[in-house]
C-alpha cells in the first residue's frame, strides 16, 4: 500500500545548518504516529518541512507517492496536508467565524465548516463573534483543531497540542484526535508529553538530536523515554 507520507533520508534546517540529519519515516493510511523527543530534537522542524514551510536540504518528502520537495505550504494545504502549529494556530485579531472562513481555502464551504465546528466544540459557537486573541488557551486550541476537523485533510500534523493547557482540556482534545483516527485519517503528532499522546498512537518514534533513535509500539517506547530525555 502506498504510504500517505514517506520521508526518505530527510535533511533540513535553517540557514544552511541542518537540524534534522537524514530521517526515514512512513505513515500509512489511518495510522497515528507519535513523534516524541526532548527540546531541540528537530520535531517541529520535521513538521515544518513536511508542511512546506522549510525546503529540505536533502532526501525526499513524498505524499501518496508523489515527491513534494519544495512545494509551497498553501499548495500542500489545499492538497490535504493540515498542520496545527504549536502555540495556538489562530489569527488573534480575527473573530472565531473569520478564523473559520480562512479554512474555506481548502475548498470546503463555510456553512459546512461552521456546522461541524460548532457541533464539535459548542463553546466556539457561543463565541463566534469574539476575536480569537481574547479566547482562553483551550478555546484557541479548539479553534485551531476545528480547522483540522472540518476540512477533511488527508494528513494531519499536530504540533504540541497539549502545550500550556489544563489536563482536562488536553484530554478533550485527544478524545477528538482519537475520533479522527477512527475515521481513517493519517496523523503525525509531535509531543513532549508522551503520556498524553501514547494513548491514541499506533506507533511512536523518538527523535534525539535530529535523528530517529527509536521506533516501536507506544508501550515499548514509553519505557525507553526516560532514557532519551536524560540524554542517554
Amino acid at each position: 500500500m502506498t504510504p500517505v507520507l514517506e520521508l526518505r533520508d530527510l535533511r533540513a534546517g535553517y540557514g544552511g545548518i541542518d537540524v534534522i540529519h537524514g530521517i526515514d519515516l512512513r505513515i500509512v493510511s489511518g495510522e497515528v504516529v507519535a513523534l516524541l523527543g526532548p527540546n531541540g530534537a528537530g520535531k517541529t522542524t520535521t513538521l515544518a518541512t513536511i508542511s512546506g514551510q522549510i525546503s529540505p536540504s536533502g532526501g525526499t518528502v513524498s505524499l501518496m507517492g508523489h515527491n513534494v520537495n519544495g512545494a509551497r505550504p498553501d499548495r500542500l494545504a489545499r492538497a490535504g496536508v493540515c498542520l496545527v502549529p504549536e502555540g495556538r494556530g489562530v489569527f488573534p485579531n480575527l473573530t472565531v467565524r473569520e478564523n473559520l472562513i480562512m479554512s474555506t481555502y481548502t475548498g470546503v464551504s463555510i456553512a459546512s465548516i461552521e456546522e461541524r465546528a460548532y457541533e464539535l466544540f459548542p463553546r466556539l459557537g457561543e463565541r463566534r463573534g469574539q476575536t480569537a486573541g481574547t479566547l482562553s488557551g483551550g478555546e484557541q486550541q479548539m479553534l485551531a483543531m476545528s480547522r483540522a476537523m472540518t476540512t477533511d485533510p488527508a494528513l494531519l500534523l499536530l504540533d504540541e497540542l497539549s502545550m500550556g493547557l489544563a489536563p482536562m482540556i488536553v484530554a478533550e482534545l485527544y478524545e477528538r484526535v482519537g475520533e479522527l483516527a477512527q475515521k481513517g485519517l493519517s496523523i503525525l503528532i509531535v509531543e513532549q508529553f508522551a503520556q498524553a499522546v501514547l494513548g491514541v498512537a499506533d506507533r511512536a518514534v523518538v527523535m534525539v538530536n535530529g535523528e530517529i533513535r527509536t521506533v516501536g509500539a507506544p508501550a515499548e517506547v514509553s519505557r525507553q523515554l526516560a532514557e532519551a530525555y536524560l540524554g542517554g
Binding site: 545548518i17 494545504a77 498542520l83 489562530v90 488573534p92 473569520e98 480562512m102
Partner: protein, 720 residues
C-alpha cells in the same frame, strides 16, 4: 471601545477648550439656516475628502500592517497621471479614470509590494516608518520631476464647476455630491470587504500571521499584492477627487492626506465608521472656524491647523492599549553595537577639522580652494549635521521617533534672534539651546505614553502645529519688519555667517558635539537611553524612571537642534516661517536614518548628502533632476530596505580594519568573512558566530559528545 475616566476627562477638556476658544473668537456673523446650511454642506464635502483619504490609510494599515505615510503622495501622483491623460491628452474621463484607478494604480501597488514592502517584513517599526516617509518624498520628487512647476494646471471637477442642486440655500456641485457619495460608499463597502468577504478576511489574516495563512491554503504573497493594489487604487480615487478642490499642486495634495491622519487616528486605524466620523468632525470643524470664528493675526491659520490639533489630541487621549500598535517601536538589533571609545571620537573630530580647514583653505593638492558658494554650502552641510546630531541620542540611542527636529531648530533660531540677534554674541547660542530644551521636554509628554507609530504621528502633528501656529506669529518672526541677525561674535572674532571662519567654527562645534555625546553615551546615565531603547519594561523594573529619562533625552535633543537652528539663523541673517516646515524637516530625519541613526558620523553623512544632491543637480544641469533634493533623500530612504544597517555602519566596517589599533575590527572582519552566516544563524536566536565546529566543541564541553555519531565527518569552515 471602553474609555477610562481620564479619557472622558480629556475629551471633556478638549470640548470645553474648543467652546471657550469659539466664544473668545466669535466673529459675530449671524447664525441662520443659510449660514449654518452653507457651513454644513461645505464641511460635509470637506469631511468626505478626508474620509476618502483616511479610508485608504486604514485599508492599507489593516491589510498590510504598514502605516503608509506615502498614501497621500501616491494619491497626488495618480491625480497627476489622471490629469495628464484627461486634460493634457484629452482622453475621455471614463477611460482615463478606468485606466488610472483600475489598471495603473493597482499595478503600481503590486510593484511597490514586490520591490519594497515585502522586504520590510519583520523589520523594526522605525525602518518601516522611514521607508514609507521616503516613499512619500520619492513620489513627490517623481511628480515634481515629471510635471515641472506647479502652475498652469487646472484639474476640472467632474460634471464642470457649475450645475448641481440646491441644498439649504447652497449650491452643491455634482463633483462635491460625487465626493460625498464615494466617501459613504467606501466606508460601507470597505467595511463589508474586510469583514464579510473571504479575500478581505484573508488580507487581515496575513497581517496576523503569514505562515499560518499559508497553512490554511491561502497564498499570502498574492494576498499582500492585492492589499497594496487596493490601497494604491484608493489613493488614486482620493487624489482624483481632491485635486479639483485643493489644486493640482504636489505639496498641497500630499498634505491633504497628512491632514487626514487625524481622521484615521479617530478610527484607531481599523474602524471605518469611526474614521468617517472623525473625517466629518474635521471637515465640519474646519468650515465652522472659517464661517463663524475670526482668529487674530498669527492664528489666522487655525482652520488649517485643526487636523494637526485633532491628531495630537486623539493620539494623546485614546487609551494606548486600544491604539492597536503592531510591531515594536524599534526592535533591538541582533547585532551588538560597539560603543565608540572617546579617543576614537576625538581623533575623528580632529581629522574632520583638519580636512575642512585644509580643503576650505586650498591646502589639499589638486583641489581648488572653496569659493564663496562652496564655503556657504559647507556651512549648510555642517549646520544640517548639527541639527541631525540632535536625533542621534533621541532616536538612535533612546529609540524615540521624532519628525520635528526642524521645529526645534526653528525655535532655537527665533530665540537667538530675540536674545542676541542684534549683537550676534555667542552666549546667545547657549541661551537658544537652553530655551529650546523645555520645548523638547514638552514633546516628551506624549512620548511618555506613546511609542513607535503614534509617537511619530504626534511628532508630525507637533511639527505641523509649529509651522502653522507658532512661526506664523508676527511677534515670533516678523519677516516684513526686516529684522536681521548679526554675524557671530565669538572670542573677539566676528564670524560672517557665510564665511570660512564660520565654517571652521561650525566644524569645531560639530566635532565637540560628537565627543560630548559619545562621552554622555558612555556614562552611566547614557546607558539608560539604550536600556529604554531595548526594553522599556525591563528598564522600568530596574528602577529607571521612564518619564525622567525621556524628558531629559528630549530636552537634550531639542537643545542641540535649537543650537543648530540658532547657527542656521546666523547663516541666513533673516528668518521666515517657510524655513521651518514639516516637509523641509523630513529629509533631515531620513538622511540621518539612511546613514545609521545610532552613529554620530551618520549626521555628517546626512549633512554631506544634503548638499551633495544640490551640487549634483547644479553640476549636471539635467532638467529631469530638477527635484533631486526631494527625490534623492526619498529614494535613499527607500533603498534602506536593501541595507537596513545604515551607510556609515558599512563604511565603518570596511574602513576600521585598516586602522592599526583596531584589532577588534580586523577580528570581526575575519570572523564574518569566514562564516558569512551570522545573520542567518541570528534567526535561530543565537547571537554568536555559529559553525559546526562550535557545536561540536560545545557538545564536548557539555559532555554530550557520545550523541554525535563518530562516523559523521566534522565540517570545518575555516578562519576560526
Amino acid at each position: 471601545m471602553k474609555l477610562s475616566p481620564a479619557n472622558y476627562a480629556a475629551i471633556a477638556l478638549t470640548v470645553a477648550g474648543a467652546i471657550a476658544l469659539s466664544a473668545l473668537n466669535w466673529s459675530g456673523r449671524p447664525v441662520s439656516v443659510a449660514t449654518v446650511g452653507s457651513m454644513l454642506v461645505v464641511g460635509v464635502t470637506l469631511g468626505s475628502i478626508y474620509a476618502v483619504s483616511a479610508s485608504g490609510l486604514v485599508v492599507v494599515y489593516t491589510t498590510t500592517g504598514v502605516f503608509n505615510f506615502a498614501q497621500g503622495a501616491m494619491g497626488m501622483y495618480w491625480a497627476f497621471v489622471y490629469w495628464e491623460l484627461r486634460f493634457n491628452r484629452n482622453w475621455p474621463a471614463p477611460i482615463a479614470i478606468g485606466l488610472v484607478v483600475l489598471v495603473m494604480a493597482p499595478l503600481g501597488g503590486v510593484v511597490l509590494d514586490r520591490l519594497v514592502m515585502r522586504r520590510l517584513r519583520g523589520t523594526p517599526l522605525v525602518l518601516q516608518l522611514m521607508v514609507t516617509v521616503g516613499l512619500m518624498l520619492g513620489f513627490m520628487g517623481l511628480a515634481a520631476t515629471q510635471w515641472k512647476g506647479d502652475r498652469g494646471r487646472n484639474a476640472q471637477p467632474f460634471f464642470g464647476r457649475t450645475g448641481g442642486f440646491e441644498l439649504l440655500g447652497v449650491n452643491v456641485t455634482w463633483h462635491r455630491f460625487t465626493t460625498i457619495c464615494v466617501a459613504v460608499l467606501l466606508a460601507v463597502l470597505l467595511r463589508l470587504l474586510l469583514h464579510r468577504s473571504r479575500i478581505g478576511v484573508a488580507m487581515r489574516a496575513v497581517v496576523d500571521s503569514r505562515s499560518l495563512t499559508s497553512l490554511t491554503g491561502a497564498n499570502p504573497e498574492i494576498i499582500s499584492g492585492l492589499a497594496w493594489a487596493l490601497g494604491s487604487s484608493l489613493a488614486a480615487v482620493a487624489g482624483i477627487l481632491i485635486a479639483p478642490e485643493s489644486g493640482l499642486v504636489v505639496e498641497l495634495l500630499t498634505l491633504v492626506v497628512v491632514d487626514a491622519f487625524a481622521a484615521a487616528a479617530v478610527g484607531r486605524l481599523r474602524s471605518f465608521p469611526l474614521t468617517f466620523l472623525g473625517a466629518m468632525v474635521l471637515g465640519i470643524g474646519q468650515q465652522f472656524i472659517r464661517s463663524f470664528l475670526d482668529f487674530p493675526g498669527g492664528f489666522s491659520n487655525a482652520d488649517r491647523a485643526l487636523p494637526t490639533i485633532l491628531l495630537f489630541v486623539v493620539v494623546l487621549a485614546l487609551p494606548q492599549a486600544k491604539l492597536h500598535i503592531r510591531g515594536t517601536a524599534a526592535a533591538a538589533s541582533t547585532r551588538i553595537r560597539r560603543i565608540t571609545p572617546l579617543s576614537d571620537a576625538a581623533l575623528g573630530g580632529l581629522a574632520l577639522i583638519v580636512v575642512i580647514v585644509s580643503w576650505s583653505g586650498g591646502l589639499v593638492p589638486f583641489v581648488d580652494e572653496w569659493t564663496g558658494t562652496g564655503v556657504n554650502r559647507g556651512v549648510t552641510m555642517m549646520i544640517t549635521a548639527i541639527i541631525m546630531l540632535s536625533l542621534v541620542p533621541l532616536t538612535g540611542w533612546a529609540g524615540q521617533v521624532n519628525f520635528a527636529p526642524l521645529a526645534f531648530a526653528g525655535f532655537g533660531a527665533v530665540m537667538f534672534l530675540k536674545v542676541a540677534g542684534d549683537s550676534g554674541q555667542a552666549w546667545g547660542l547657549v541661551m537658544a539651546a537652553l530655551l529650546t530644551a523645555p520645548v523638547g521636554a514638552l514633546m516628551a509628554l506624549p512620548a511618555v505614553r506613546l511609542q513607535g507609530l503614534y509617537l511619530a504621528l504626534a511628532s508630525m502633528a507637533f511639527a505641523r502645529g509649529f509651522e502653522l501656529l507658532f512661526f506664523t506669529q508676527s511677534s515670533v518672526i516678523d519677516s516684513g519688519a526686516g529684522e536681521r541677525i548679526a554675524s557671530l561674535h565669538f572670542a573677539g572674532w566676528q564670524l560672517d555667517g557665510r564665511g570660512r571662519g564660520y565654517l571652521i567654527f561650525l566644524t569645531i562645534v560639530f566635532a565637540a558635539g560628537v565627543v560630548g555625546l559619545i562621552a554622555l553615551k558612555r556614562s552611566r546615565y547614557g546607558r539608560r537611553w539604550m536600556a529604554i531603547h531595548d526594553s522599556e519594561a525591563a528598564a522600568a523594573t530596574l528602577g529607571i524612571s521612564l518619564v525622567e529619562t525621556k524628558v531629559i533625552v528630549f530636552g537634550i535633543s531639542a537643545a542641540i537642534a535649537g543650537f543648530g537652528g540658532a547657527l542656521f539663523g546666523i547663516q541666513q541673517a533673516t528668518l521666515n516661517p517657510s524655513q521651518f516646515t514639516l516637509l523641509l524637516g523630513l529629509p533631515i530625519v531620513l538622511l540621518l536614518v539612511v546613514g545609521g541613526v545610532a552613529y554620530p558620523a551618520a549626521a555628517l553623512f546626512g549633512g554631506v548628502n544634503t548638499i551633495l544632491f544640490i551640487v549634483i543637480k547644479e553640476r549636471l544641469g539635467w532638467s529631469w533632476l530638477s527635484a533631486l533634493e526631494i527625490l534623492g533623500p526619498g529614494l535613499m530612504a527607500v533603498a534602506m530596505v536593501v541595507n537596513t544597517r545604515g551607510a556609515v555602519t558599512d563604511m565603518g566596517r570596511a574602513f576600521s580594519p585598516l586602522l592599526p589599533w583596531r584589532h577588534d575590527a580586523r577580528d570581526q572582519f575575519r570572523l564574518e568573512h569566514a562564516t558569512e552566516r551570522e545573520d542567518e544563524v541570528g534567526e535561530l536566536g543565537l547571537g554568536r558566530p555559529f559553525t559546526r565546529d562550535h557545536v561540536n566543541d560545545l557538545d564536548r564541553q557539555l559532555g554530550i559528545v557520545d550523541l554525535i555519531p563518530a562516523s559523521r565527518p566534522t565540517e570545518s569552515r575555516g578562519g576560526l
